[in-house]
Symmetry: C2
Subunit: 273 residues, 2 copies
């Protein structure tokens, strides 16, 4: 099949967006479109320019026989600013307040469009680091973890608080919940994580950090390394944070259950760009 | 900012892929690119042609003042055939067999690329039906539900088997698990589903269909309608199926735990195209 430039640009754009972080040899496109490599290089220059101009990401060209081109999704600072502002606006609504100072986030986390944007933001920060897998804990963190993982092109592993027959043998640890100080259990299927993996931890909400800390302990059992920690919302209202280095999009400050008041502001995201 | 056709094609392709099922007025593009509507129409004809040729989907143009263009993601029959074959190959491996005739699917469900393809296949079937929301039950079905929902541009609601403080008030029902015949409970946050919604149920695994049946009962409590049921794997090895109409990608037949043998074949997906 013969492609004109316009058809190639559309199809290549689609291919790059479906295959982020993957090294694609130029010959793949040259063969697919039955075109000279020089034409493909020109196409890629146009796509790279447009992607960068529009804040979609960039194309990275690696020279040599083993080389090729890689699409790196990157949210622009302006896009991140605008989106985090929007998130803060959504979260500040007093109807979100639940007993115990928790927030109702189910509608936000239930919107695939919002979840994908959150994923793009985290993936932008970790785009250049070595990440083998994204880890989260059931249930709320799952959509966020997949959204991040899809842009990084890595698998997701899910830590559970209950054992399921369909996971096979598991490794479990006990951890202390930071806010309630209760001892809890979390577990991960043995087969699901390789020794020595570089793991990005993603979760929806962090108070004292007990759950994240539990995941870190679990990683030690697998001799895996923490490559990063990203949370959608951090709560400022805590005595002692158990986790030091993390990225948050939104920070919850001054929750007043009695007065039904919530104050939210942007998290520490921009300090990590 | 002035765009040449090549830049417009790349940026429009990106925009369509990020905004499936959304009606976009032509003026949106004309304004963004500072171009005549006639040029935008030509661009769209090229994109439509390439999308259809490459099995990405199609563009639907609605005429009139309230009109515009909509990207409908559609997997081609060949792509679906190839992918379902691949899934069958992955699932037939005897190491997947777990006690009780269950299959270890964690690695398959942990791969965002595979999960997205599953989502595209289901969304292709339901692209023309009225779907307001995708529903699933925690935990395994969650990534699949999001993958489908993102292509349909609708939210996800998650049914749980345990109540969480961060969900607010809930509606719960009791149901009988089809295979174990035990009575179980499932619940859904009151705020998460509107009365009268058209709901697409998505799950990873269906044996007798007790869980899906439970979700149907729960929908009745919300006066919501079942618009469709999609499961990744159905197990043939059951006495009586509690659910009649559903779409499956893979069918599990003759699981022999003793001999460590699994037989899988394609599900009823192609009967629904």
């Amino acid at each position: 099949m013969k492609f004109r430039r316009s058809g190639r640009l559309i199809d290549m754009t689609h291919y790059f967006l479906q295959n982020p972080q993957r090294l694609i040899p130029l010959t793949y496109f040259a063969d697919k479109y039955n075109s000279a490599k020089s034409s493909i290089s020109e196409d890629m220059a146009i796509i790279k320019h447009t992607f960068e101009q529009q804040g979609v990401g960039t194309l990275l060209t690696l020279p040599g026989a083993a080389g090729g081109v890689k699409f790196i999704p990157k949210a622009s600072v302006e896009e991140a600013k605008g989106f985090i502002d929007e998130l803060c606006g959504m979260m500040a609504s007093p109807e979100r307040l639940l007993p115990g100072g928790y927030l109702y986030l189910t509608d936000i986390l239930g919107n695939p469009r919002v979840v994908n944007k959150i994923g793009r933001l985290f993936a932008s920060v970790y785009a250049e680091r070595k990440i083998d897998v994204v880890m989260t804990v059931a249930t709320k963190g799952i959509p966020l973890a997949y959204a991040v993982a899809q842009f990084l092109d890595v698998p997701v592993v899910i830590v559970r608080k209950d054992s399921k027959v369909t996971e096979g043998s598991t490794v479990s640890i006990n951890y202390v919940s930071g806010s309630s100080k209760r001892i809890q259990t979390m577990l991960l299927a043995k087969r699901s994580l390789e020794t020595g993996s570089n793991v990005l931890i993603i979760d929806d909400f962090m108070k004292a950090g007990g759950t994240v800390n539990g995941m870190i302990s679990l990683l030690e059992e697998f001799q895996a390394k923490v490559a990063g920690i990203g949370v959608l919302v951090e709560s400022e209202d805590i005595e002692e944070r158990l986790v030091d280095e993390y990225i948050s999009l939104v920070k919850l400050t001054d929750v007043n259950v009695k007065e039904k008041q919530i104050n939210v502001k942007e998290g520490n995201y921009f300090a990590h760009l």
